[in-house]
Amino acid sequence: MKAKNISKETLIVPNVGIVKPGEIVDVPKGFNNANFEIIKKEVNINTKK
């Protein structure tokens, strides 16, 4: 699970580390913080026959 720091601050996050603005980091399952946006997994659909 990945999340992006959408705040303008460098943040100290317990069990994650120090995260700069705009940085995308791995976060534990269930992570929930208003300063972060959870990055949804991209689904690649192969339409080639």
Binding site: V13, P14, V16, V27, G30, A34, N35
Partner: protein, 400 residues
């Protein structure tokens, strides 16, 4: 499963519209808290043909209040002052913003306190009183707050099955059970399987009981539990507390002279103990068309007190007490240097007029004599001001 209080947080954010909840995104390490919702239950004593005292409880006026205890840093201190006092125009830049505060109309906040898996959210929060003491050299604040409403947990009103995009909350606690929730919140719903489903809200509906979300396949019976999911806290800083060792107090006949005295160690008054209480006597306006709690919180008469212990050096303080002589007092606490410049964080509190209510000089064997004073802060007619606070930190004024 057990949960440790040490993992909890205090989250807070100023509300753009008073008493309209927002999602807290600033976090402050707590020492303790005791904020609770008092539903004022009483036993139902109506005659129902039974000879036992009561068969149920009836709710009364809902109140939300209690204390937050923290060692503030210069940044989160701004939020607590903003809950109690009125912030003027911020000046400066990222290497040092100056935020002035005077007594006036405070801003309301949404705050969250983690209790294990759930977040106890209060909205429309204002401070009634801030008490500051130096404990083991560290400035410790006890912030007494009140709120107009809360959201923490509830129950599902009607069963869900298959693909669903909304749910209704039970109105057992209040007729407006979705109040306190915000679009973007994550709530957890107990499924019939026993596990909990995270649900990110895309709407909080005007019917005051429905919330919407992206389609999910859910099987849940009526009365299954729902709670607001606790956040993982994030901090902009975990140091930078304010200490007595970096505090200078100036006492003089006027506020301008007290400022001058507080500007250097040579002219400052040495304080052994120092504490202050700032109070706006916040009033809970009775509930009107709002089943969550008070309709709003209103500041009433403002007041402040100081408790001081200083080394007795001459008769001046004794006479000040006997003859009720006006003094002015300025306290400056200096913190860390703000990154990128040379400006230091600071908290300046100016009491334009104080007088000792009591001045004790107790004698003890082998102990030097102290002036122990309980001071009342007063309105100074010549300065047209009672108390001014100035906070210098790295947080932009828009955050407050």
């Amino acid at each position: 499963m057990t949960y440790l209080g040490s993992n909890s947080y205090l989250g807070l954010k100023v509300e753009a519209v008073e008493n309209t909840p927002v999602i807290p995104n600033a976090f402050c390490p707590l020492i303790s808290e005791s904020i609770k919702t008092n539903i004022n239950y009483t036993a139902d004593r109506r005659m129902k043909g039974i000879d036992f005292k009561s068969d149920d409880l009836l709710p009364g006026n809902k109140m939300h209040e209690g204390d937050i205890v923290v060692y503030p840093d210069a940044d989160n201190l701004g939020h607590f002052l903003n809950m109690l006092m009125e912030k003027g125009s911020t000046t400066g830049s990222a290497t040092g913003y100056t935020h002035p505060f005077t007594f006036g109309t405070a801003k309301s906040y949404t705050i969250e306190i983690q209790k294990g898996p759930y977040a106890q959210r209060f909205y429309g929060v204002k401070a009634k009183q801030i008490q500051g003491i130096f404990e083991d050299q560290k400035l410790k604040l006890t912030i007494s707050v009140k709120a107009v409403g809360q959201f923490s947990g509830g129950q599902l009103k009607a069963a869900l099955s298959g693909s669903v995009t909304e749910l209704k909350l039970s109105s057992a606690f209040t007729s407006s059970p979705n109040k306190g929730l915000v679009v973007g919140d994550t709530i957890c719903l107990q499924l019939d399987s026993g596990s909990y489903q995270d649900i990110v809200l895309t709407s909080v509906n005007a019917d005051l009981e429905t919330v919407g979300f992206e389609a999910l396949s859910i099987t849940a019976a009526a009365n299954n539990l729902i709670y607001l999911k606790a956040q993982t806290p994030s901090y902009t800083s975990l140091g930078g507390i304010l200490t007595q060792g970096n505090t200078l107090v100036g006492v003089a006949a006027t506020s301008a002279l007290a400022d001058t005295a507080a500007a250097s160690k040579a002219t400052a008054t040495s304080m052994y103990d120092f504490s202050f209480t700032l109070n706006n006597n916040l009033f809970d306006a009775p509930s009107t068309g709002n089943n969550q709690g008070p309709v709003k919180l209103i500041e009433q008469v403002k007041e402040a007190q100081l408790s001081i212990s200083r080394i007795f050096e001459d008769v001046s303080q004794h006479v000040s007490w006997l003859n009720s002589i006006k003094q002015a007092l300025t306290m400056i606490i200096t913190g860390n240097t703000i990154s990128g410049g040379t400006t230091k964080e600071s908290l300046t509190i100016k009491f334009h007029k104080v007088k000792p209510m009591t001045n004790d000089e107790p004698l003890e064997v082998d102990s030097i004599i102290f002036d122990r004073q309980e001071m009342e802060a007063l309105y100074d007619s010549s300065d047209a001001e009672s108390i001014e606070i100035s906070l210098v930190n790295k947080t932009a004024g828009t955050s407050y």
